[in-house]
Subunit: 176 residues, 2 copies
């Protein structure tokens, strides 16, 4: 999780403190960083899948999610960038519903600042996690990466084409 | 879960067996029957919340969910009845994505057969669970009902106005 120090804490939204408390209370569960991201696909069909929280962008409340640029959801989200996260904590029985606009940052972005964020998020991921973007098919959207093996990743190499960073900018957050 | 016996099993969809296996493997976790239901609200905004699996309707694959008729989602779903369930099993690392049409069955239904399903689902719920529909406000959508007390429910009384049964008819089921 992105840190921040006293200055950043003072500026952050009130719900951030509650969310951090829930993350701490459920930290012993590996799935505590998993949540469900709902978007709307073609024809107004809801789409819903489990993704992994990759921390906040520094100095703001945007939520980072890693995903595979080859998955269907990328084109769907580019077309209709609204999302709602439902983050349910199974040990403390708390639910956070976080809706906002999603920004898709893949290698085709023309904004150097965004490409830098993508690179930073890439290096913040484990080498094992990065290796799932090297396979021929989009990986599962969940963090159970035990099936990944025999893929060599150069730890110093930058993001591959298949790696895509999503950021969700919270507009409305509801608890319960 | 609705039972069925040999005849019903023979007729059921292949994913039902996989889902049942996941439910069995995760049965020691109270939250194994919780999933996230995504729908689309006004203006094409995705909405996502945790709800509780209340079994299948008999002799079919329709998934039952109890909800409060006073919650926002009821009018939203009546207007746009598409839903996608994301059901993630935290111990076996399995994900089921189930999309389909949702039927809202509240006390205003004019179909006697549907009213009968609603009544049956009401009596299949625990008395404690029923009591949450007697409070002045919609309850939380999750099953942590420890906050419910001092509400007297006549165990033989039929469904109250606030009680609403949703059924989702699976059209497409994806694993992983």
């Amino acid at each position: 999780m992105a840190g921040g120090g006293a200055a950043a804490s003072a500026l952050s939204s009130p719900w951030r403190a509650l969310l951090q408390r829930a993350l701490d209370a459920n930290a012993h569960l590996k799935h505590s960083t998993f949540f469900q991201l709902a978007t709307v696909s073609g024809g107004g069909r809801p789409a819903n899948r489990t993704v992994v929280f990759r921390g906040f962008l520094e100095h703001c409340d945007k939520i980072q999610i890693n995903t595979d640029a080859r998955s269907n959801k990328i084109s769907e989200i580019k077309e209709w960038p609204l999302g709602e996260i439902c983050w349910y904590f199974t040990d403390s029985w708390e639910q956070f519903r976080i809706s906002g606009i999603i920004d898709v940052i893949d290698g085709s972005s023309l904004d150097p600042a965004k490409l830098q964020l993508r690179e930073k998020a890439w290096f913040a991921s484990s080498v094992k996690s990065r290796s799932q973007y090297l396979g021929p098919c989009p990986g599962l959207p969940v963090a159970n990466d035990d099936h990944i093996k025999d893929v060599h990743v150069d730890a110093s190499a930058g993001p591959v084409d298949a790696y895509c960073l999503l950021t969700l900018d919270p507009e409305k957050v509801r608890l319960g």
